[in-house]
Symmetry: D2
Subunit: 143 residues, 4 copies
């Protein structure tokens, strides 16, 4: 019996002049920001609330404890950047994402991002609440 | 016979309001940028030219192929951020750095950054020139 | 005889966690960047080339000599930010835009941006070429 | 009888690769951020608390209602950027600054920034408290 992976969430980003450095490509430091924006949009799309609402309305934060990125092709303004976001692990206190960036069908970068759940106002570790857990659990795909 | 490691290069960064998010800590996406600025300053200090001069005056670029960061303590405006930069590997075509960030004596993050040498105008792989190699080689420390 | 102004170009921007400061609103320094991104998108939409293509493919730059912004309501992630862009002056060597930002129907900011045409590689003043002038001229609206 | 203006506060900023666009100069959108960082540092130096401490420890915010900038010379990594900050107006509810940026002795930009005092948690207008007023008042220079 095969389990079919759902098609990953796709988030398009306009890459522009502001993102580029004198090498005529998006500056390295912009790439993690693209990926983080895509994860923020994933929350909005899949959980019904973005990080801002999660933090302010629910008092839950998800600070990052790890991120890693491999860059395989430069990002430029010549194409829209399509970021895919997948949930690759869900622990009792942490969550892990894979974010890939594509331009014109070419993989530009692949990244792993790990964050933990905290009580926002005090930055203390906590488990995600039942309603979010119920939404998150079915979304986990193979790492 | 002991070999003594040189004290790592220290680069101070003022963390301010502009860097902080609603969780009252420096936004995750700012941290890679702090580390990259520290590496740029390391070039200026150790090689006598920063990435801008390296690119424009010498036609050499060092695009990144990998970065990874582990975050252990939040970065805030309460302390200066001290970034240490060390050269941990020097290949024929690539270079690897370790960057650690400290505030008030506490380690906030540790990162690994790998870039490759290219002909800047065409982004084609190349070896570093002899004069830079002579400066870089003695600086390599244990990974 | 009345001349009807065309409906201004609208460019939507997703405001997220990354844009917000500890006051829970988009940081002041982000607003000019939102407006500049909207002008870059206006070029792409109306001229058929964005600043990146204008600079690299046509060797024309448009560095800014002035910008001013009045802020009337905070920008937050609660609504999409709609930026309108209008061409309000076209001189022989300069160009002026009005950019307004709206969220949920409320004006958040209004700005004036003035840039000059230059030969990109040398940053020397020049007039816009005939083909761009022909596209730009009919787009000028009342200041 | 002449009144001597005090020498303006000077805040040095390292301009680097990360700040530059494909035109090989600091991107326009970076300049307001340089100026805002300088004003934040001015608070720390003259008031004994930066915007972060002002907001969190004193529950006072200073959101901006206006900013304008004139650019006269490009900013590049070739020189340190020296930002001068002066207090040019102090109203019962607002405060105005002049920020000038210099590189190698050349004026690169001059800006005017106006912000209002608010109760931070609710963004409601307020007058500055007596202790801050006492520190601010003697610092006002001619506009």
């Amino acid at each position: 019996m095969s389990t079919q992976q759902p098609k990953p969430f796709e988030y398009p980003i306009r890459v522009g002049w502001a993102d580029c450095d004198p090498e005529l490509i998006a500056f390295t430091g912009r790439i993690p920001n693209f990926a983080l924006e895509a994860i923020d949009a994933w929350w909005q799309s899949h959980m019904g609330l973005d990080w801002y609402a999660l933090n302010i309305d629910r008092n839950i934060g998800t600070p990052f404890v790890h991120l890693s990125l491999d860059f395989s092709s430069p990002v430029t303004p010549r194409h829209t950047l399509i970021c895919t976001v997948e949930l690759t692990r869900l622990g009792t206190k942490s969550i892990q994402y894979r974010v890939c960036g594509y331009q014109g069908g070419t993989l530009c970068f692949e990244g792993k991002f790990v964050s933990v759940f905290v009580v926002a106002k005090v930055l203390e570790s906590r488990e995600p609440p039942a309603d979010l857990l119920a939404l998150l659990s079915p979304l986990v795909v193979e790492e």
